[in-house]
Structure formats: C-alpha cells, structure tokens
C-alpha cells in the first residue's frame, strides 16, 4: 500500500526547546495510525506542523506525492487533509448547521458574482445544507442543528468537530484526542463512527491517550517522547516495548 502522507526530518524549536526533533513518519493509505506518547511529547505540535498552523524549523512534508510544507492552512484543506482540535474549537455563536455548512467552503467554492446572480448557486447551497444535515445525522447531532455551538456539552462538541472535519471531504483525517473527557458509552460511539469513516476509504491518523481505544482500533502505532520517535509498530509490538513502558511509567523496569 502506498503512503498518503510522508514526513521527513520534521523539527520544530520553540525558543531553545525542541518540541519535535527529526521526526520521520508515513501514513499508509486507508489505515488507522495512532500517535501516542506522554503529555508534552509533541503530538499536537506534529499535527499543527502538518496543517501549517505552525511553521517547521526543518523538515519536509509530502501529501499524495506533493510537498505541502509551504502551503497556507486553507490550501492544506484543499489538498484533502482535515483535522479536529484537542481543545474543541467550534464556531461558538453559529448554529451547528452553520458550523458544518461553512466547512464545505472548498466543496461549494462560492464566488461573489455567482452568489448574487446565479440561481444554480443557490441550489448548490441548498444541497450543501442538506449534506450538512446528513453529516450531523451521522454524528448523531441532527436534533440540535439549530442550536448555538456554544450550548453543547463537551462530548457533543467533539462530535461536532468530527462533523466539521468530515464536511471538508478529506482523504486524510487528523483526529486530536477525539475521545478525551468522554465516558465509556460516548467513547464507544466515536469508535464506531471512526470505523464507518475508515470503511468509506478515509485514512485516519489520530492522537489519543485512551490506551484501550488506541490498542483496539489502531493498525499501527507510533510513540513519541520529548519530541522524538521512540517506537513504531503494531499494537502488540508497541505494548511490549520496554522503551515505551519506561517512557510512560518512568524509571521502572518491568
């Protein structure tokens, strides 16, 4: 299987501190890859670098064979990468429907003239809204579609983030701690959703702390500690790896 995302030598310094150092990774098309590591290991920074919210100090990122390190964040979305945020960032004073609909920006591609003048543009927007409703139904938020995003509970906000990401019609989905703070039932629901998304052919790259979930759904796991990759492999391999255990548990031998 080909790799859809390739990261070489990714490095980011904040002041004198290396958040991420010489990080190489690849994501295979269609797989579910998890990135784990203790707090502060540099996982979210990696996501930020891939989606260009931060500029890498060094390193090269290619997506589907083309370099994306120099692009602006919205151009990354255009290429087919969507992400969710660990601390949910939804558009608070907009309704759920509007939140999801606005993320279809690159799918609908409105322009000023056609918005004002062309009736087919209006039709496309209506279809877009319908698709937004379907997406909300998929994440089980349809009944609340006219509510303001600010009124949602944490679990609902995380599901909204997922809906927003799906709206962008991505090929690669970056999920940053999709079940953080959720109870077991909510976690189960998200896991099911991720399974369905994966079956649609979307590649999934996720960050998580919930080990049960990670071991359960990942095909491959990468472990990061102090900005460096310390292990990579299948869930069985990684869970047996002494280096990984030491990183998580401190100076305790098994």
């Amino acid at each position: 299987m080909e790799s859809i995302l390739n990261v070489e030598g990714l490095t980011k310094y904040f002041g004198g501190l290396a958040a991420v150092e010489d990080f190489d990774l690849y994501v295979k098309k269609g797989e579910i890859l998890s990135l784990i590591g203790p707090n502060g290991a540099g996982k979210t920074t990696t996501f930020n670098l891939i989606t260009r919210l931060e500029l890498p100090t060094r390193g090269k990122i290619t997506f589907k064979g083309k370099g994306i390190t120099e692009l602006r964040p919205h151009e990354i979305v255009e290429r087919g990468i969507a992400r969710t945020f660990q601390l949910t960032r939804v558009f608070r004073k907009m309704t759920l429907l509007e939140n999801v609909a606005v993320a279809q920006h690159l799918v609908i591609r409105p322009n000023l003239w056609s918005t004002l003048v062309s009736p087919s543009e209006k039709k496309r927007e209506k279809e877009g809204l319908k698709k937004a409703e379907e997406t909300l139904q998929f994440v089980n938020l349809f009944p609340k579609r006219e509510e303001l995003a600010a009124n949602l509970s944490l679990g609902e906000q995380k599901r909204l983030e997922l809906a927003i990401a799906l709206s962008m019609d991505p090929e690669l989905l970056l999920l940053d701690e999709p079940v953080a703070g959720m109870n077991p039932k909510e976690t189960e629901e998200i896991i099911d959703l991720i399974g369905i998304i994966r079956e649609k052919g979307i590649t999934i790259f996720l960050i998580e702390h919930d080990m049960k979930m990670v071991m359960g759904i990942s095909e491959r796991i990468i472990v990061l500690n102090y900005g460096k990759k310390i292990a990579e492999g299948s869930p069985e391999e990684v869970s047996q790896n002494p280096v990984v255990l030491e990183a998580y548990l401190g100076r305790r031998h098994q």
């Binding site: 602006r72 964040p73 919205h74 255009e78 558009f91 409105p110 927007e125 006219e146 962008m168």
Partner: protein
C-alpha cells in the same frame, strides 16, 4: 406556510413604502425619511465589516465621503451623467476599500480599530487640504441632481421634488438590502461569521481568510460609497465636515444598538437614530453624549441589540423565520 406569509408581509410593507410620500405633508419630514434611508445603507454597510465579520472599522465615514466626492467630481469635472457617476463612485470607493483593506489584513482588535481610524482621519485631512480637487473646507456647492428620466417622450420623472429622490433612494435601498440579505444567508455570509468567531479555525476549514476579508472590506466600502454618492446629489453640497469621526461613531451606534451582525439591526438602528435627534431636538447638545452612553450600555447589557431583544420575546415559530436576521 411561513413562506407566503413572509411574501405577503413583504409586499404589504413595499406597498406602504410606495404610498408613503403621498401621505406626508411636510417636506421636512420627508427629508428626514430620506436621510434615514441613507443611514440605513451606511449602517448596513458598516455591519458587513464590523457586525458580521467582527472587524471594527472606525474609518467608515471615509468610504461615505469618498463615494460623495468621487461622484461629485465625476459629474462636475468630467461631465459624466449622474446615472453613470453613482455606480462609478461605488467602484472607486471599492478601490479604496481594497487599498485600505490590504494593510489591515494582518491586524485585529485594537490595532485594526486604530489603523482604520487613522485612515479615516487621513482621508478627511486629504479632503480638507487637496483644495484644487475638493475645494477644501469650503466644500463643493451646486452639485447637480440626477437628470430627468424620460420614457418614450411622455412619462417624465424629474428630480425637482423630494418625492422623486425618495423613490430613487427606495429603489437603491431595496436593491442594496436584497443583495446584502442574500449575502448574509449564503455560504459567503457564513464565512464572514466564521472569521468573526475564530479566524484561525476558519483557515483550517478551508476558508481563504485573506480573500474573504478583502472582499468584505470592498463590499462595505461599496455600499457606503453608493450612500455617499446619493447624498451628494440629493443635498447638492458636500464638505469634509460631514465625513468625520463623529459620523462614524453615529453609524457605529446604529449598528450596535440595532444589533451587530444581524440583517434588520442596522435598518432599525438607522431609522431610529435618524428620527431620534429630531424628536429630541430640545436636548440636541446632549445627543452625542447619549449615543456614547447608549453604546456602552448596549454592549454590556444587550449585546445582541434591539433585534436580539425582539428575538427573545417573539414566540419560537416566528423566530425561526427571523433566524440569521
């Protein structure tokens, strides 16, 4: 069911507006109505930039003035007909909107407010000092009104009386407001709101914030320019004194109290704050004070404006129809 109710309501209001000038005896009262229409346009245009997109533009009166002066100079110095002068003035104002919008792209919050204020003041100073062009503080007198419209040698609409101006403004307002309404309810309108809520997040959902922010400034500038152009050919006299910081504050008050980011808010605000000074003639010297006080009180206690208050009173069914407004 709701849909044809809205259409019927709209037609009734339209009919009322068309009939209105014939019921008014006092030309002065009609003048106030016309002025309120101008402010409705100004408030709606500022709302696009500040209300919907959350970018405070304290130099908005500059767009108003650029529209007025452009139209005047095109007509009086280049001999262009007012009917061409108006839209051209709008386009010239768009040009300046983009010119000002570009350096403002990376600015937000207080930085943006101060910079736009600076631009507004620089524009006013230019109006005062470029005497060969603008006649300086004395202003320009004797601006011609629009030439008469002639239909097949029989029907003649001449612009001698206020009533013709009223209908012209009514037409302008209807067209402009319809465009704005369409914008607010469209995908583009949603991108404005997304930028207001969280600009970085907006980028990460695929919005080219640079392009949208410039488009937004251009649109706000356009409608303000049109309002300015109408003003010039209606009042037939313009001077830099009209396009001051005070004017921008007044327009901002209209938007804030009416309802930031709503469609009807600026309309309500524009009308109320044009009639209010007339009703409060006796306390005219307190006017700006009251506006300032109202603006502070409003943003603290009723940040959604009058429209926000109305929306929480009206039962939910009708409210659904007013959503996004």
């Amino acid at each position: 069911m709701k849909f044809w109710m809205k259409i019927l309501g709209g037609l009734l209001i339209l009919a009322g507006l068309i009939y209105l000038p014939w019921t008014i005896k006092s030309p002065y009262f009609l003048h106030i109505i016309i002025v309120s229409g101008i402010f409705v346009l100004l408030a709606s245009s500022l709302n696009l930039i500040t209300g919907c997109t959350g970018r405070l533009n304290l130099g908005h009166a500059a767009f108003y003035g650029i529209g007025a002066y452009s139209s005047t100079l095109l007509v009086m110095k280049l001999g262009i007909s007012v009917w061409f002068g108006m839209p051209l003035a709008g386009l010239i104002t768009v040009f300046f909107g983009i010119l000002i919008g570009i350096p403002c792209l990376k600015l937000k919050g207080a930085y943006l407010a101060i910079t736009t204020l600076a631009f507004g003041e620089i524009t006013r100073l230019a109006m005062m000092n470029l005497v060969p062009l603008t006649n300086g503080p004395l202003g320009i007198r004797g601006i011609p009104g629009p030439p008469p419209i002639i239909f097949r040698n029989s029907l003649l609409i001449s612009f001698d009386s206020k009533i013709s101006y009223y209908y012209l403004l009514l037409a302008l307002c209807l067209v402009c407001l319809l465009i704005i309404k369409r914008l607010l309810n469209s995908q583009i309108g949603r991108t404005f709101m997304a930028i207001r809520e969280d600009e970085v997040r907006a980028e990460t959902v695929g919005i080219d914030t640079t392009q949208i922010k410039i488009m937004n400034f251009a649109l706000g500038a356009f409608f303000a320019g049109i309002a300015g152009s109408f003003y010039a050919h209606y009042v037939r006299f313009i001077s830099p004194d009209t396009f001051t910081l005070n004017e921008t504050f007044t327009i901002l008050t209209m938007v804030v109290i009416g309802g930031l980011g709503t469609f009807y808010g600026p309309i309500v605000g524009g009308i109320i704050f044009t009639f209010l000074p007339e009703l409060l003639r006796a306390i005219a010297e307190y006017r700006m004070m009251i506006y300032g006080l109202m603006m502070s009180v409003a943003i603290i206690f009723m940040p959604e404006g009058i429209i926000g208050i109305l929306q929480s009173w009206i039962p939910w069914r009708i409210k659904k129809g007013l959503k996004l407004e």
